[in-house]
């Protein structure tokens, strides 16, 4: 879980070209803290898909999903487990 959050922090900084150390990304209130608009949200989530080899469901693909690292990390872990299970 923490590993997922660290990876998400790194991907967030890289995908949104933030002038920010990954450790400085807060756990919650990301949209407000980083100023994530809808296109930035999509950019980040597609990077997340590529990073974790998952597909985020259409209905989940919105800027709401990126507001909390805990929520997003839980979602990513769940999707990754499903993807792995589907491969077995």
């Amino acid at each position: 879980m923490n590993d997922t959050k660290d990876r998400l922090r790194r991907v967030l900084v890289e995908s949104l070209r933030l002038d920010l150390a990954p450790e400085a990304v807060p756990d919650t209130g990301l949209r407000e803290a980083v100023g994530i608009d809808s296109v930035m949200g999509l950019e980040f989530l597609i990077w997340v898909e590529n990073e974790f080899g998952i597909q985020i469901q259409d209905e989940d693909l919105s800027v709401e999903l990126v507001d909390s690292l805990d929520t997003l990390a839980a979602y990513v872990d769940e999707r990754a487990a499903q993807t792995a299970a589907a491969r077995d």
Partner: protein, 765 residues
């Protein structure tokens, strides 16, 4: 004084088939023409399209075929031949560049062979695909196939391109630059545009504008054409006007985001107001609002907010409908198709419906004419367009047969076009392989000028890293860099104030480019398309639009006036000055930032090398280049105490109908341009700055002297080349009393352009 302009011909190729009649039947039925997407990998279940599936419309050049057919239909209806000068105005976002994108792997293989010193495999079709990759070549192809000689412009402002092209044509007719205008908008669906738009959240599962469940737009194929003429000329030749094209306006969003438009609709509303004012209409006269109507949640809210701002308490009484709900989103073709739909509604005094609108979004409270069209008195109508990168472009229409309007139409429109004082250059900027700034161009006078740069151009020399410009397309960075220099040189504050004599809304940005960021976009997207398109992210396409140089200038400088991007090949930089002068003459702005730039990126360089080696000639190496001039009316410049560096006494472009791969100079076009701009100084010699092929000895009355300027020193500067020569010539005439200069160029496809400069004293010495 200005003359009313009317539409005399229309042509359309859409999913409903060839011809306006098929389109009108579909509007009457109010049924969407969408069907299953074919030939492109589907993203997230978004499998609808408005592709044209006519078996005759296949092959790599299907888009130019469609555009030619639409233009032929419009010309046939207009009943020409019209006397005088015919101008061609083409709006497109992709032109014929899908042909090379579809063969990107073959292109990459040829480039690898070239790099390895092996024999590259370039067949005829691949070679032609490289020639036609710069999207403005579509205009050359159209002119060649239709036999149109005269001023020729390719315009690209994303999905507003067709409206921008129409607005430029309207301006040229009013000002007498042309006597008849053929306006064409054309685009077809490509894997790059579908995936680029889908990733950015623009594509939906269905296209249902204003619907509670709308989730995006659906793209398709199409071409539309209009023929425009002055009402007086049409009356004189006994022609039949279809409707009056009464007004235009273009504004740039007042917005920090490069691409996403602001939801408050204020910048869009300003464009609608200005178009109505330009038409001599008031918001109370408007009964029909043909929306951009993309079906994306944000744009539908934006247009609703815009309509409320413009029409106030009457907003609920103005019928609004989305033509895209029926024909799909056709990028640059849509504005022309929507203009045609608007003219049809005006003629029929009937409003076409918004298809599929069985449940209106409760947050949207206006009259969207759901499902069924209805008879409606329409005294005037507007058609609204938005283009990614900040463009709001609006056209105002009047019916042809309303008696009072028809009477007024024969009267000159007041205040639309004031005779202009001299246009002066108050600032210049340059980026070339000789270095940054006008001074670096001095090296181009030497016999053996060598590249003078010690390090590559960096946009961070001109703007803080926090702005993020370093991530955007190189050509946009270059254009911005030259503009930033020119604005500083002209003593303009950045950002410009919101009010007062230097207000950002009274400034226009006109940029020219040959390739723009489209080479970088294809280089980024095409490998993913063949490997795994789901790895494409929004920025891969959004960062590379060819209109972004203008966007970056507007964003950084707080410009909210007209923005236009010309993509008419190497002449586009000079045409930016030509269009800038027209905007000043029309009173559409007080200051113009007119620039041009192209990147010497890998695909552009390799394509040039491959084509040159195939033709057994040495090619110029495309190299990072940009140039910019700040233009103002002489009285305005003097009033604000600006440094007047030169007077632009004339600027003209002209094109012969030649095949786009013909690189021999268009001698007739060049002579015509030189004669046009040289008329002011026929009795005196001019320093000559000529870029490209062409024999300057045959120039009739115009006397030319060698300036010593060697354009070869610039390398392959594409659209920036002639404008870099302008910057060099401005520096020369600014210091030599009585000096005058003529900058000229010729370009493949039969194009030529020329500009005449006199010193700050007007060249009177």
């Amino acid at each position: 004084m200005s003359f009313p302009v009317v539409i005399t011909g229309m042509g359309a190729v859409t999913v409903f088939g060839d011809g306006c009649t098929a389109l009108f039947e579909a509007l009457r039925k109010g049924e969407s023409g969408l069907h299953e997407l074919r030939g492109i990998a589907v993203a997230r279940g978004k499998n609808r399209s408005a592709q044209i599936e006519d078996p005759r419309r296949t092959g790599p050049w299907r888009l130019s075929d469609m555009a030619v057919d639409a233009a032929r239909e419009a010309l046939a209806q207009s009943g020409g031949p019209a006397p005088g000068v015919t101008g061609l105005y083409v709006g497109t976002t992709g032109g014929d560049n899908r042909a090379l994108e579809d063969r990107w792997e073959d292109f990459l293989a040829a480039r690898r062979a070239l790099a390895a010193g092996a024999e590259p495999q370039v067949d005829d079709e691949l070679a032609e695909a490289m020639v036609r990759f710069p999207i403005g070549v579509l205009a050359d192809v159209l002119a060649h196939r239709l036999g149109i000689e005269g001023p020729r412009y390719a315009v690209t402002n994303a999905c507003a391109s067709g409206t921008t092209a129409t607005a430029m044509a309207l301006l040229a007719l009013r000002q007498g630059t042309v006597d008849r205008a053929v306006v064409v908008g054309a685009d077809h669906l490509k894997a790059t545009s579908y995936w680029g738009a889908e990733r950015a959240g623009f594509v939906g599962h269905d296209l249902r504008p204003f619907h509670a469940d709308r989730d995006g737009s659906v793209l398709g194929d199409g071409a539309g054409a209009l023929v425009l003429e002055r009402a007086t000329d049409v009356a004189a030749r006994g022609g039949t006007p279809l409707a009056g094209l009464a007004g235009w306006a273009i504004t740039c969003d007042d917005n920090p985001h490069a691409i996403i438009p602001p939801e408050d609709g204020a910048s869009n509303a300003e464009a609608v107001r200005l178009a109505l004012a330009d038409a001599g209409l008031s918001p109370e006269d408007v009964d029909y609002f043909n929306a951009h109507g993309t079906g994306t949640p944000l744009i539908d809210r934006l247009e609703t907010a815009s309509a409320k701002l413009v029409f106030g308490d009457r907003a609920g009484q103005v019928a609004i409908s989305s033509t895209k709900s029926i024909v799909g989103h056709l990028a640059a073709a849509s504005p022309i198709i929507e203009a045609i739909a608007t003219v049809y509604c005006l003629t029929e005094q009937w409003v076409h419906p918004t298809a599929k609108l069985d449940r209106i979004d409760p947050a949207l409270t206006l009259d969207y004419v759901p499902l069924r069209g209805r008879p409606q008195r329409i005294r005037a109508a507007v058609s609204n367009s938005l283009g990614g990168g900040g463009t709001n472009a609006v056209l105002a229409f009047r019916p042809q047969d309303s008696a009072p309007a028809a009477q007024e139409m024969l009267e000159p429109v007041p205040d639309a076009f004031e005779p202009v004082s001299d246009v002066v250059v108050t600032g210049t900027g340059a980026v070339s392989r000789l270095g940054d700034g006008s001074d670096a161009l001095e090296a181009a006078y030497g016999p053996n000028a060598a590249p003078g740069r010690t390090r590559p151009f960096s946009v961070l020399d001109h703007i803080d890293a926090a702005a993020g410009y370093q991530y955007l397309s190189r050509s946009a960075q270059l254009g911005f860099g030259a503009a930033a220099q020119a604005m500083a040189d002209a003593g303009l504050p950045v950002p410009l104030p919101a009010e007062g004599p230097l207000a950002g809304r009274r400034v226009a940005v006109v940029m020219g480019t040959a390739v723009g960021g489209l080479s970088a976009m294809a280089e980024t997207l095409c490998p993913h398309l063949s490997a795994d398109p789901t790895r494409i992210t929004p920025s891969m396409s959004l960062d590379h639009g060819p209109q972004l140089a203008a966007t970056l200038v507007c964003r950084a400088a707080g410009v909210t006036g007209p923005m236009v991007t010309l993509i008419s090949g190497p002449a586009a930089g000079l045409q930016a000055v030509e269009v800038g002068r027209a905007l000043l003459a029309a009173g559409a702005c007080d200051i113009v930032i007119a620039g041009g730039g192209d990147a010497g990126d890998a695909p552009t360089r390799d394509a040039a090398r491959l084509l040159a080696s195939r033709q057994g000639r040495a090619g110029e190496e495309p190299t990072d280049s940009a140039a910019c001039v700040v233009l103002e009316r002489a009285d305005g410049a003097r009033e604000r105490g600006a440094p007047v560096r030169a007077v632009v006494t004339g600027c003209a472009s002209w094109s012969e109908p030649q095949a786009p791969d013909r690189t021999d100079a268009a001698a007739g076009a060049l002579t015509r341009c030189l004669t046009a701009v040289g008329a002011d100084g026929a009795d005196r010699p001019h320093l000559s700055y000529h870029v490209g092929k062409g024999n300057l000895s045959d120039t009739g009355e115009v006397k030319l002297l060698a300036s010593g300027f060697q354009p070869e020193a610039l390398g392959g500067a594409l659209a920036a080349g002639p404008l870099l020569a302008v910057v060099a010539a401005v520096a020369r005439v600014a210091v030599e009393p009585g000096a005058a200069a003529i900058v000229s160029t010729v370009a493949p496809g039969g194009s030529a352009a020329a500009l005449r400069l006199a010193g700050p004293d007007g060249g009177r010495g």
